[in-house]
Every structure is written in C-alpha cells, then in structure tokens.
C-alpha cells in the first residue's frame, strides 16, 4: 500500500509516515529514484511496471530499455521509497468542537476541486436532458422576458431606456440578472437537493452551493454569446469598456454565491426558505435597475442604491457593453462592498452551521 492523500490535505501519508516534501528517494542500485512529488500525486502505484519510475532525465527509449532490465521493478521502487526521510505524521483528530482553520479549509477545498468539477459537470449535463431546446433555454428564457418587458414597459409604459432600444436595454440587463437569479435559486436549494451526499459522504460542504453557481455560469456563457450578435443587429458596437464586463459577471456570481451560502444553510434547518426564495428574487428584481435605468433614483440616493449589489452589477454591465453614460463608479464601489459583506458573512454563517448539516438535513 502506498502513499495517499489525507482527506484533510494536511499531510501526506504513507501508512502514517510523513515524508519531507522535497525529498528524493533512490534505490541502492542507483537506477531508480523516486521524487517525493510522485508520491504526493499518487503516481507511484501507477508507476509499477511502467516507465514512470525511471528518472526523467532518461529519454523514452532509454526508459524502456531500463524497464526491461528491471524485472523486479516493484522492489526497486519500494527500495527507493524506503530511502525517503520520514517521520511520524500527526493524526487527524476529530472532536465535537474543533474546526479546521480558514487556511486549511481553503486547502481542503482545493483538494476537492475534482469533486467540484464533477458536480458542475453533472448539473450542466443533467439540466437539459430530455428537453427539445436543450441549452437554447439559456437564451430563450431571458430573451422572452426581455421581449415581454419591452412590450409592456417600453412600449406601453414608456419607461426610459437611456437612449438605446428598450429591448436591448432590457436584455443586456437580463443576462447578468438571469445568472444571479438562477444561481441563487439553485444554490439555496442545493444542500437539501444533495441530501444523500451530505449524509453519506464527507467533503467540504461548500462545494455544493459553489458548484451550482459555477453551473449557472455555463448558461450565462450561452446567453452572453447570443448577446453579442444581438447588439450588432441593433448597430451597437461594444467599446473598450466591454473589457470590464467579466468583472461584473464575476461580481454577480459572487453575490449569488454569498446569498446562496446563507440561504442554503438556512434551508437545511428551515424549509421555509424554499418558498421564500422565489418571492425574494422577485422583490429583488424590482429593486434592481433591470426594467428601468438607475437614473430614476434621485442623485443623492444613488450611492445608497448600490447597497443592493445587483444594482451595481446590472448598471455596470450595461455601461460596459452599451457604453451609455459615464461609468457608475460610486454605485459600483458601494455594490462591491455590499457584495463582499454578503460573501464574507455567508462564509461565516455557513462554516458555523456546516457541522450540523448531516444531523439536521
């Protein structure tokens, strides 16, 4: 049995023995050496009987030649590992109260990045299975909402749209809004939806809401890809300011992630959250300048308006792509602060509650 990673990622183990990180083990025959990193990366079991256990400085043919001359490769590899300096590793201690530090939590999350990837991949794959339109739904949904809005609010109610056609005005805002709304809906329900995983397997719980937000970004990409020709049709060419757009996308994702942390953790304990989210998002929609420009808000309240971080996102995104007006710097900076507050507090609350998820869910 060879070295494997500890789920907490604190140390690398070899049956409870820790190796020094930069060590290089060498078989007494001096033909096979084993870098420490291979052991960390769990290449060694794989390396049995393959050319991997031969040092890299040899070329491919040499490796094969040496491989042939090493009939008992396994023994050599074992010898090489034996020579690695080792010491007793500290054990992973489980108690009722202790929490791993933030730094370790981040490292642990990094360890589980593949799980994160697979959960995102699963969500994206499954989302449009057995649908006729498939990924096109990611476009149809915001587009139709924008059409409806432009008909009722643009044509009939004649809301101002800052000098661009109302539908462009609305769809440009719908794209980041839809990212936010769907990511928030999905992530607030994510822990409950993945109940089996929570109660049967260990992994950093934050992976679950995080994966739903990343999954939302895939839909966003599609909706965004349609946005560009859409703008071109209306003879709007994005300028350099468009380079700022990814920043606002990231901000929207972060806000939905932060709010998702809060709501998903609350949802574990209070199922009421599920019913509240739809309502909350609807309310939030009207507090966000999607159907109207933020200029309808009086100048002196404009900065305060940024406390709704989505206001900064939507205004910023629209500014970046449509180039209308001047940069909403004050609004956006307040929004960034508000978003940071949501994410940080969300993390705290989530961490505080996550130990009880498996018991309460």
């Amino acid at each position: 049995m060879l070295t494997q990673r500890n789920p907490l990622g604190r140390h690398h183990f070899q049956h409870g023995i820790r190796h020094d990180f930069f060590a290089y083990g060498c078989c007494p025959c001096a033909k096979i050496s084993v870098p420490r990193s291979w052991i960390c990366n769990r290449l060694i079991p794989h390396a049995y009987g393959s050319a991997l256990a031969i040092p890299r400085r040899f070329s491919g043919t040499e490796k094969l030649g040496r491989l042939a001359s090493h009939l008992k490769l396994e023994a050599h590899v074992n010898n090489a590992i034996e020579t690695l300096p080792r010491r007793e590793c500290p054990a992973l201690v489980i108690t009722g109260r202790s929490k791993i530090s933030w730094a370790l939590a981040v490292r642990e999350l990094w360890q589980y990045r593949e799980l994160l990837y697979f959960l995102v991949w699963r969500d994206v794959k499954v989302r449009y299975k057995q649908t006729v339109l498939g990924l096109a739904w990611a476009v149809v949904q915001p587009l139709f909402i924008a059409l409806t809005l432009s008909l009722f609010l643009g044509r009939l109610a004649k809301l101002p749209s800052g000098g661009v056609p109302y539908i462009v005005f609305a769809y440009t805002a719908m794209v980041p809004w839809q990212l936010f709304a769907s990511a928030l809906t999905d992530s607030s329900n994510s822990l409950v939806a993945n109940e089996r995983l929570i109660t049967k397997v260990y992994f950093p719980r934050v992976v679950v809401p995080m994966s739903t937000v990343l999954g939302g970004l895939v839909d966003f990409t599609v909706a965004f890809a349609v946005l560009i020709p859409f703008l071109a049709y209306y003879h709007i060419t994005p300028t350099v300011t468009a380079l700022a757009a990814p920043f606002f996308v990231l901000l929207a994702a972060l806000i939905s992630f932060g709010a998702g942390l809060w709501l998903s953790a609350l949802n574990v304990q209070y199922r009421d959250v599920r019913y509240t989210v739809g309502f909350l998002i609807q309310l939030w929609f009207f507090l966000t300048p999607v159907v109207y420009p933020s200029s309808v808000v009086p100048e002196k309240w404009r900065a305060l308006y940024g406390l709704n971080p989505m206001a900064g996102v939507v205004e910023g995104f629209r500014w970046a792509l449509l180039g209308t007006g001047e940069a909403p710097v004050r609004l956006v900076s307040v929004s960034v602060l508000a978003a940071a507050l949501i994410v940080v507090s969300g993390f705290y609350y989530f961490r505080h509650m996550e130990d009880t998820f498996a018991d309460v869910i």
Partner: protein, 436 residues
C-alpha cells in the same frame, strides 16, 4: 514495507458520544415555530439562527446514539462491528468518516479514510454508466486519474460493459447496484469504513462482493466493517465489537462475539407460557398452556442453525371430547409460507392437559427469522383457536458448512442439503483433467 507499520494505531477513539434530539433526523424547524418564539422572546431568532442546533441541548427528549465508546484499531486490522438496529454502528462510522461531529470525546485517525455507507451515493439516473462511474468515484474521494486507471477493472467487475453508454435509469436494479458496488469496491484507501453494503445484487454477485471484501480485508488494509451478516464478519474480520445501546457491549475474536451476540440480543419468542387456565388464550374448547421451539438435542437457549433439527412443542388443555385438528404453519421473514403440517386426533385424545410435538428436520430451512402460526379447528371452517406469529425464532447460518468458502446469503425459501457428485467422464489433456 507495510509490515513495519502494520502494528501502528490507525484509529483511536476515546469516550466518543453522539447525542441526537429525538426525531431530529425527521423533523426540521419550520420558520413559523421560530417566528412564534420570536414574538415571545425578541432577538431569540437571531441568536438561534447563529447557534448551531446542538442536539438535545434543550428539553429532555434526547437520545445518546453513541455513548462513551473507546476503541483502538491498528493498521492492517479488520474490525467487525455488529449490533442490532439503532445500536450506534452507523453513527460510529459517520463520526469516523467526518460526516457528523461527536457530541463528546475524540477520535484520532492516521491515514486516508474511504467511506462506503451506501453504494451508489450520488448516482444520477439521467447519466450514463460511464459518467456515473466518474461522478461516483469523485464523490467517494477518488482522483480522476485513479478512476481512469481502474476504469476497466470497475467495468469488468460490474458486468455492465455493454450498457456503459446507456443512462442508468434504464438499468435493471440489479445492474444498477452492481455498477455502484463496483465503483465502491475499487476505492483504495488505507482505512475503509464499510456499512452493510454487501446486500446488493443477485446471489452470484453477492459472492463476488464478499470475495472482494475478503481481498480488501486480507490485503493488510484497515477495515471497519458493519454488517448483520455474522458469518461474513466471522470470516472477514480479525476482531469484532458488539455495540448495544450505543455502548461497546463486548469485544474480542469475531466468532466469540458473534455467538454471544446471537444468544443475548436477537429478538425472539421461542417460548410462551400461560400458567393460569382462566387467562390463557383460547376458549371453552381449547386453551393454550405453553408453546416452545428448541433444538431436538438441546435446551431452548441453544442455537438453531440451518443444520440442526428442531422441535416445536405445544401444551394445551383440551376441553371437549371430540377430535381437533392441530395445524402448524411455518413462515419465513418475508412472509412466505414454507410448509404446513397438521394432525387429526382420531380416535380423539382424552380431555385434559396434552402435549403435542413436531420435529422439523435439519438441512431444511434457510437461515433467517421464522415464525410459526398455530391453528386449531374442528375440521372444515370451524376455527377453534388461531394464533399468528405465536413463536418467532431465528435459524442461524452455520459456518461449518460443506459449501466451500462462500459465507454470504443463500437465496431461496429453503436450504436443503444437497449432495454434489462430480466425476470425470472423459479427460481432455493432462492439464484439464486436473481441473475436472
């Protein structure tokens, strides 16, 4: 290389305890509870929302699922954990695998831990078999490279190769479980926590699973194995503990622990006695005094195994002069009627206290819980006395069976002992003749 380490401590638990609020797993707080609380005590909602709901903090309705468990497991050991439902076995595994936190005490673990509390965790019905292998592997903590490396092995083990690109929702439940177990079985961590995952698939696949678990246990890896299959525990594990009401009730060699566990904690009613004729069940024609089931050559406390013959005895007051039919029905745990046997006392037995006895031969019943229905009639439809589930008893698996190394469940309602005889009709080459 592993030999030098095989003696070191892999898992060390000290005073582990886990307290749950009664019904907590099922019940969650509705916001309206909290709101009504809030009206009574403002700000409590805020405080409560930030307080981790530690089980059982308020109110007396809590339950210690695990209490004061201290345990040491060394590297290379295979520890069997047995106990009745609700004894705390799964809770212990959940604590060790980090899924839930202990209320008190601590555990120290050295080495990578793999958990198999359930097979097929995270399987998605819409995804294909191939996709689910990757997904499930990642959920169990395997690296993508590891999964790729062992992919062919997994597919081969699962016997689902042809359907690899079919969504698993179209799989039969057997195929689904086989695929799920195959992924789980290829998880190679130093410490493996396994909870009752062998009961999947058909008999042939169960054999394969048991064999695989045996390989794991004998590879020198550390295994904690929770099972109701005592024979499997006996053959796979080097040591066993028995949990009872959240505490370690005994610890020792698997066979000793298993047999004591069977005697002390298996629920059964192998004897019923009614001394008083006035209150005994029955009527003016028939009253039951005693019923009991025991091995033919032994007392009631001895175990009935699949090999032993056992007797069922009834003592009753016969209060009418004419003949009575006595009927015994034997059911297995799934409610299948295995057989029925009847006696008709002709010429009629005398009135008074009588004893009837039947002997059921060994090598007939399969292992498992069986129950006996007792039925007395005058013939035809005239029922005199009827008692469902009068006696409940357990037929145990016998490990000293002449059926090879397999210790899993044998399917089927009965398990007769069948002679096998194989002879060579015509040898083909020197090598082959040996195999025949």
């Amino acid at each position: 290389m592993s030999s030098e380490l095989s003696g070191s401590v892999a898992i060390h638990c000290e005073g582990l305890g886990k307290r749950y609020r009664v019904g907590q797993r099922q019940r969650y707080r509705a916001l309206r509870d909290t709101i009504s609380d809030t009206l009574r005590a403002p700000f409590r909602f805020v405080r409560q929302a930030f307080t981790a709901p530690i089980a059982g903090e308020r109110g007396p309705e809590f339950l210690w699922a695990l209490k004061d468990v201290s345990l040491e497991v060394r590297h290379g050991e295979a520890l069997g954990i047995i106990g009745r439902n609700g004894a705390g076995k799964s809770t212990l595994l959940k604590i060790l695998s980090h899924i839930t936190k202990p209320t008190e005490g601590q555990a120290a673990i050295r080495g990578r831990v793999g958990t198999l509390l359930e097979v097929g965790t995270g399987f998605h019905p819409e995804l294909t078999g191939r996709e689910n292998i990757y997904l499930n592997g990642a959920i169990l903590g395997m690296k993508r490279r590891e999964i790729e490396r062992r992919f062919d092995e997994i597919v081969e083990f699962s016997e689902c190769g042809r359907f690899l690109d079919t969504p698993v929702k179209h799989y039969s439940s057997g195929m689904y479980m086989r695929l799920a177990f195959a992924v789980a079985a290829h998880l190679d961590t130093e410490i493996l926590l396994v909870d009752e995952v062998l009961a999947v698939g058909d008999a042939a696949f169960q054999k394969k699973c048991l064999g695989k678990m045996g390989d794991v246990a004998h590879q020198g890896r550390t295994v904690l194995f929770v099972s109701h299959n005592l024979v499997a525990v006996e053959s796979l594990c080097t040591r066993a503990v028995c949990l009872h009401d959240g505490k370690i009730a005994m610890e020792g060699p698997p066979n000793v622990v298993a047999s004591r566990y069977l005697k002390e904690w298996i629920p059964s009613s192998t004897e019923i006695v009614y001394d008083d004729i006035a209150t005994a069940p029955g009527n003016e024609m028939f009253r039951l005094r005693r019923a009991c089931v025991r091995p033919v050559n032994g007392s009631r406390s001895d175990l009935i195994t699949v090999r032993t013959a056992f007797a069922v005895e009834f003592e009753y007051w016969k209060l009418v002069p004419h003949s009575l039919f006595l009927d015994v029905y034997v059911y297995n745990e799934t409610g299948i009627l295995l057989f029925n046997t009847a006696s008709f006392d002709e010429p009629p037995n005398p009135q008074g206290l009588l004893r009837s006895r039947i002997v059921v031969p060994g090598d007939l019943l399969n292992n498992g819980t069986h129950c006996i229905k007792f039925f007395v009639s005058l013939g035809g439809n005239h029922v005199v006395f009827e008692a469902d589930d009068l006696l409940v008893f357990e037929v145990h698996d016998a490990s000293s069976d002449l059926r090879g190394p397999y210790h899993g469940a044998w399917p089927g309602a009965v398990r007769p002992f069948v002679e096998w005889d194989t002879e060579c009709i015509e040898a083909r080459g020197t090598n082959d003749s040996k195999r025949v």
